[in-house]
Structures are given as structure tokens and as C-alpha cells.
């Protein structure tokens, strides 16, 4: 039946059942709980897959324990979920491989990221862990913007970049720190061989 020929029916909008919005509960590694809307969760590929796999009903959400996110603290998670709620329903950007990547930081995001660099570091880590592409974009863009107008010497200070000598020294220190354990393993292996064992494990 064509659209033109379809019968016109008066609809009582109040009679249409409205699906109740579902809010999931999440808990940070320092036991802070957050309630996040289903739509906001869609910004995170990781969390979206998780809740889909769990198949929770509204009752489950209320009755079962909050979903634990063990790698992220409450302060960081609060920022993450604030961002997700603000941008809920927005399309998730697809990486087109362009270089340099062009991303504008919206006013809301700029205010949200007006934080110390330690917290910004955690936010980037969380955005990557939870696979929130646009949050990762804007937070990395903020870090990249710190390089603007800086001399090489200033860049070294801003990003705490080690010199070649410092890199070499850190590498040597790491090797030296690793050697005692390597020696222990070797000694243990030799001892077992002496005892006639065929398997190390």
C-alpha cells in the first residue's frame, strides 16, 4: 500500500507504552558508585559490549551488585561518565587515517578537561581502556596542543622527555635490576639439572 493510500488514524500518544530508561550501576576501584544511562554507555565500546553480554533487566540492575571497573578510580570515572552523558546519542567517529588528525575540542570538553595533568593522564588511559574514541581524541588533542609554540627545550620540559643519555642510563638500570632474577632462575635450573630432573616446571 502506498503512503498516499494509507488510512489516516488518530493516535492517542498517551496510550503508547514508553520504554523506561535504564541506568546501569558501575563501581570504581575505590568503591565509588555511578549510575549511567544506557544511551551514554554506547559511547564506550567496551562497556556497551559488556552490558549487552550481561543482558540485565531493570530489576537486575537494581538488585545485582554494581559492575566493577577495577582499573579506574572514582575521580577519573566521574569525568568519563560526565563526558558520556553529555555526548550520549552522538555518532561515534570513524578513524579515517588522516594525518595530522583534525579534531576540535568543544567548550564542554575543554571545561571538563580543565584538570591537572596527572588526572588528564588517567583520563586518556581510561578513554583508551573503555574504548571511548571521541574522548580519546579530545584528550590526546589537548596533550598535543601543549606542544604549540614551544621551542625544543621547552618541549623537553613540558613532556618530561629524557635525553639519549638518560634513556641509556634507564635502560642499563632496568637491565641491572633484571639480572639478579635472571641469575636466580639460571641457578635454579642448573640445580634441578644436577638433581636429575628433566623438567624445569
Amino acid at each position: 500500500m502506498s503512503v498516499e493510500n494509507a488510512p489516516v488514524v488518530d493516535v492517542d500518544e498517551a496510550a503508547i507504552p514508553v520504554e523506561k530508561k535504564m541506568y546501569y550501576r558501575f563501581e570504581s576501584n575505590d568503591k565509588k558508585e555511578f549510575r549511567v544511562s544506557e544511551l551514554a554507555i554506547q559511547q564506550s565500546e567496551t562497556l556497551n559490549r559488556l552490558v549487552e553480554a550481561m543482558g540485565y533487566t531493570s530489576e537486575d540492575v537494581e538488585n545485582k551488585p554494581a559492575i566493577a571497573i577495577e582499573n579506574i578510580d572514582g575521580k577519573t570515572l566521574k569525568l568519563v561518565f560526565q563526558w558520556c552523558e553529555h555526548h550520549k546519542g552522538e555518532a561515534i567517529p570513524v578513524d579515517d587515517g588522516s594525518v595530522p588528525k583534525i579534531v576540535e575540542i568543544p567548550e564542554f570538553d575543554a571545561k571538563l578537561m580543565d584538570i591537572d595533568n596527572g588526572l588528564l593522564f588517567k583520563l586518556i588511559w581510561a578513554a583508551d581502556y573503555l574504548n571511548i574514541v571521541q574522548l580519546l581524541n579530545v584528550s590526546c588533542k589537548k596533550v598535543a596542543n601543549m606542544a604549540q609554540g614551544k621551542t625544543p627545550a621547552q618541549l623537553r620540559r613540558v613532556y618530561l622527555l629524557p635525553s639519549d643519555e638518560e634513556d641509556e642510563a634507564a635502560k642499563r638500570a632496568a637491565q641491572e635490576a633484571q639480572d639478579p632474577r635472571a641469575r636466580e632462575v639460571e641457578e635454579e635450573f642448573e640445580e634441578r639439572k644436577r638433581q636429575g630432573g628433566n623438567s624445569f616446571f
Partner: protein, 255 residues
């Protein structure tokens, strides 16, 4: 909240670090690549190619889309300057101040490279006659010449004997007018009157055409190649132009 002054970039996991790098503009990437081997590897690991670049280095660095030009104007750090010159030897134009070189040796190293055009600001005593003779450039320009007219006179004599074969134009500004007549001392030459000299046009290797000014003083190298010196005198300073009439520099067969 006040933003802390530093961000530990290399403590980011590799993937996030590469993500940040993708947002940096070419200026920042270039500067980052100069800081250490690790930084250079990080930037080059992306395999991005620049089709055309021009780099102007002063207190800041700008990379623009014109090829083969390097400007190094102010001394930030001798070691940094040397590294820039080593990494980014331009094919065509080097715009440089002698103050960016720690000593004569460093300057001479830059001069011996096959750079078509050398534009030197603030030319000081670091540029010796030997340094000038080492230069393999087609065009040498300087806005201030702090070595004596005697040195220029010796240079012209050595050119007559066969030095600086590629040279097409030398242009220097003398701020001390004392002794300008020494420049052509001992060099047999023919004075070309202003009216006749100003009819001549000189084609540079960058295809620009210049009109000669004032009187000309023509002389020849041992192999017959002709050259002209023009002195443009002003109140307190003078430009000295030295043109070498290679075949490709002659315009309309007038030389």
C-alpha cells in the same frame, strides 16, 4: 584548577602515545624529533612523508610548503644549530647568521656544502678568506661585511686564478666605506660607463633577472670568463656586486 606544568608523555602506553602524535602539527613533530633518538624513532615510525618542506629556524621553527630552504638566524644553542644543519642540509638556499656557529670550523663546514644560494646575515670575522674560498655556492649574499676590502680584493684575484668555479654572484654590504678603492687594486679592468652598464641584465640560477646598476668594472678569469664588479655607494654604506658571466647568466646576448 591550575594545570600542572608538565605531562609525562613517554609514560603513556604506546598506543595512546601514537594517538597523541597523530594530533601534533608538523612543526611540533619536527621539534620533537630533534630531542632524542627515541623521539626521532617515535616520529619516523609513523612513516609520514613530507612532499615539500621549507624550514625557517630562528627563535621558533616554522615548516612551510616550499622546498629546499633553510633559515638559521639566531643562536639558541650551538649544538642544536649544528644538528639542524647536519640533518637538514638544504639543496638550494641557506639563510644563516654567522652568530649561529660556534667557531670558524663550524661555519666552514656549512660553507663547503653544495648549496646554491648562501645568504649570510651579520657576517663577522668568523668568515675568513679561506672560508669564502671553501664555499661552493653559486650565489653568496651578505647584509653586513665585517672583513676588510683587502680580503675582497684577494678573493677577486684568486677567482681570476680559478677559485670558486660555480660562483655566479657575490653581493656584500660594506658599512665602512674607507678603502673601497682597494677592492680592484692590482686587477686590470675596463670601466663600463653607467649608461652602458645599466643596459645589462644578469640571470641568476634561480631564474631571477637583475639589472646592473652604476658603473661596471669588467675583468676576466684565466679561462676567459668575464666578470663585472659594481659598487653602489650610498651615504654611509655601499653594496658591492660581483657578477660572473657564465653562458647561462647572459640575457639577450648583452654582456
Amino acid at each position: 584548577m591550575a594545570v600542572a606544568p608538565s605531562f609525562p608523555l613517554y609514560e603513556l602506553p604506546k598506543d595512546e602515545l601514537r594517538w597523541v602524535i597523530r594530533f601534533m602539527d608538523p612543526n611540533a613533530l619536527f621539534k620533537l624529533s630533534l630531542l632524542s633518538k627515541r623521539s626521532k624513532n617515535l616520529v619516523t615510525s609513523r612513516n609520514w612523508k613530507a612532499l615539500r618542506i621549507t624550514i625557517l629556524v630562528s627563535q621558533t621553527i616554522q615548516i612551510r610548503s616550499v622546498p629546499s630552504f633553510l633559515g638559521l638566524q639566531e643562536c639558541v644553542d650551538f649544538d642544536f644549530n649544528n644538528r639542524v644543519l647536519k640533518m637538514l642540509v638544504p639543496k638550494k638556499v641557506l639563510l644563516v647568521s654567522t652568530t649561529v656557529f660556534e667557531n670558524k670550523t663550524a661555519l666552514q663546514k656549512a660553507l663547503v656544502q653544495n648549496i646554491d644560494e648562501l645568504d649570510i646575515n651579520n657576517l663577522d670575522e668568523k668568515l675568513t678568506l679561506d672560508g669564502l674560498l671553501c664555499s661552493n655556492s653559486k650565489r653568496i649574499r651578505s647584509d653586513v661585511w665585517r672583513i676588510s676590502p683587502n680580503v675582497l680584493n684577494k678573493f677577486l684575484k684568486l677567482w681570476k686564478s680559478g677559485s670558486n668555479f660555480r660562483l655566479e654572484q657575490l653581493c656584500v654590504l660594506f658599512v665602512d666605506l674607507q678603502g673601497l678603492d682597494v677592492i680592484m687594486k692590482g686587477i686590470p679592468h675596463r670601466v663600463v660607463p653607467r649608461e652602458q652598464n645599466e643596459q645589462r641584465r644578469f640571470k641568476l640560477s634561480n631564474r631571477r633577472i637583475e639589472a646592473l646598476e652604476g658603473e661596471g668594472m669588467d675583468f676576466h678569469r684565466f679561462d676567459g670568463t668575464k666578470a663585472t664588479v659594481c659598487i653602489k655607494e650610498r651615504d654611509t654604506w655601499a653594496f658591492i656586486y660581483f657578477y660572473v658571466w657564465h653562458d647561462h647568466c647572459v640575457v639577450n646576448n648583452i654582456l
